[in-house]
Amino acid sequence: MSKADEIILIGGSAGSYNLIVAIIESLPSYFIYAIVVIIHRNPKFVTRIEDTLAARLHRPIIQAGDKTNISKNMIYFAVPGYHLLVEPDRTFSLDISEQIQFSRPSIDVLFETAAEIYGKRCSAFLLSGANKDGTDGIRIVQKMGGKAFVQSPEEARMRTMPESAIRANQEINIFTDQEIISYFRDLK
């Protein structure tokens, strides 16, 4: 499988689960992107969304492994308990350093490292959540020329995360759930 030239990041926390499932269900069977999902979850109670979804949708949805390629047409999940980073050779790496914003994996860390490598070929979505993780990451994505999207706080179950990103970043795209789902449905 060849490495992806473009990457789409989805960051979510409390209240983002259902939308993430809806996004993945809406994806076409082939797309040229690598999609990376990062959600805060407790490493001690591992809920294997990726396995459940993979079985239901009959497509590989896997945990992003250390030093593995970031490939086209793939959906990756960040493993709980580790930060997930993007390396210059377009592979993933893991890191168990301190939590950031009480989170590991940290959305900021993934967004920042991915933005730096993929530049304008990086898009990032920030969804519902009860903390401020992702705000800095979204800023870097925009600074490096990528596109940033935030779930409308009106529709988010927990509005802190999207609201914080909107407040800190100008010219950010605010999308309804329906718009987010259409975006992913229409990916080529």
């Binding site: 250390d66 030093k67 350093s97 490292t113 490598i117």
Partner: protein, 276 residues
């Protein structure tokens, strides 16, 4: 040297720092994962309010800064009985094989502040193997090894270590193995007795003994593929035949050439046995 504005390091500058640091200090960072290394160096710049030029000057001119930088670059986060199920796997799938040896040597590579080493010692005590065992704990970072030798940990941490211990399937209580004093706990002497902590750099140092068991968890993630393969070779050469290599849940031998010399004992925790 204090700067008012924050300075951001680029990958190009990172490469220059790695080259310079290698030349003047002998610490070889060239095989470290670039993005996490860059974050660690950036962290030092932020802490010290330095820019890249300051950093280069300090590396070149201040010898004590070299050790400081190397220590700051390493990530030392650890726990006792981290991944409790891993310890259950050792108890069930690994240690029973070792019972026939009259003498056992264990190596915990990248042991940080020692928690992993003491966890292993406790497990060996509970399996009745500790009297004939010796554990070497090594790390590149001399300052975490100091903490490891002292064997004193804040009670706050001990609380979550106890939860891990209980989840690992042990029937005792972690408090059997430490003595609490004020805000801290010291690991008891009978746990500490058959352990040696010493400095060893996995990237540049060689074999120093032969082992029945090597564990190296949450260390290889900081290395690129090439350096990982080099370290796998070091481990292979340091293991006796039928010795065990335990890498933990996120670091794997699968898809590496050297895998043909090993057999998988536990897939989830990447426990392998050397078979040839």
């Amino acid at each position: 040297m204090a700067k008012l504005s924050v300075s951001h390091i680029s990958f190009l500058e990172l490469q220059e720092i790695v080259d310079l640091f290698g030349k003047v200090s002998g610490y070889d960072l060239s095989g470290y994962s670039k993005s996490s290394l860059k974050r660690r160096i950036q962290r030092v710049l932020d802490l010290e309010r330095m820019d890249v030029v300051d950093l280069k000057n300090a590396i070149t001119n201040i010898e004590s800064f070299q050790t400081y930088l190397m220590n700051e670059v390493t990530v030392n986060v650890t726990e006792m009985f981290r991944d409790p199920q891993y310890y259950a796997a050792l108890r069930n799938d690994v240690l029973p094989y070792l019972e026939t040896y009259p003498q056992l040597k264990f190596w915990s590579a990248g042991c940080s502040t020692g928690e992993e080493v003491y966890s292993l010692a406790i497990l060996l005590m509970e399996m009745g193997l500790y009297d004939r065992s010796f554990i070497y704990g090594t790390d590149i970072n001399g300052s975490v090894l100091e903490t490891a030798r002292k064997a004193i940990y804040p009670l706050k941490k001990i609380k979550s270590y106890s939860e891990n211990y209980n989840a690992s399937g042990s029937h005792g209580s972690l408090s059997d193995y430490y003595t609490a004093m004020y805000e801290a706990a010291i690991v008891n002497a009978e746990v500490r007795k058959n352990i040696l902590f010493s400095q060893h750099n996995l990237a540049t140092d060689y074999i120093f003994n032969e082992f029945q068991f090597i564990s190296c968890r949450n260390v290889l993630i900081y290395f690129d593929m090439e350096l990982q393969n080099k370290v796998f070779n070091l481990f292979y050469n340091s293991l006796v035949e039928f010795g065990f290599l335990c890498l933990g849940s996120k670091e794997t031998l699968l898809n590496r050439d050297i895998m043909s010399n090993f057999k998988v004992i536990n897939k989830e925790f990447n426990i392998y046995q050397k078979i040839k």
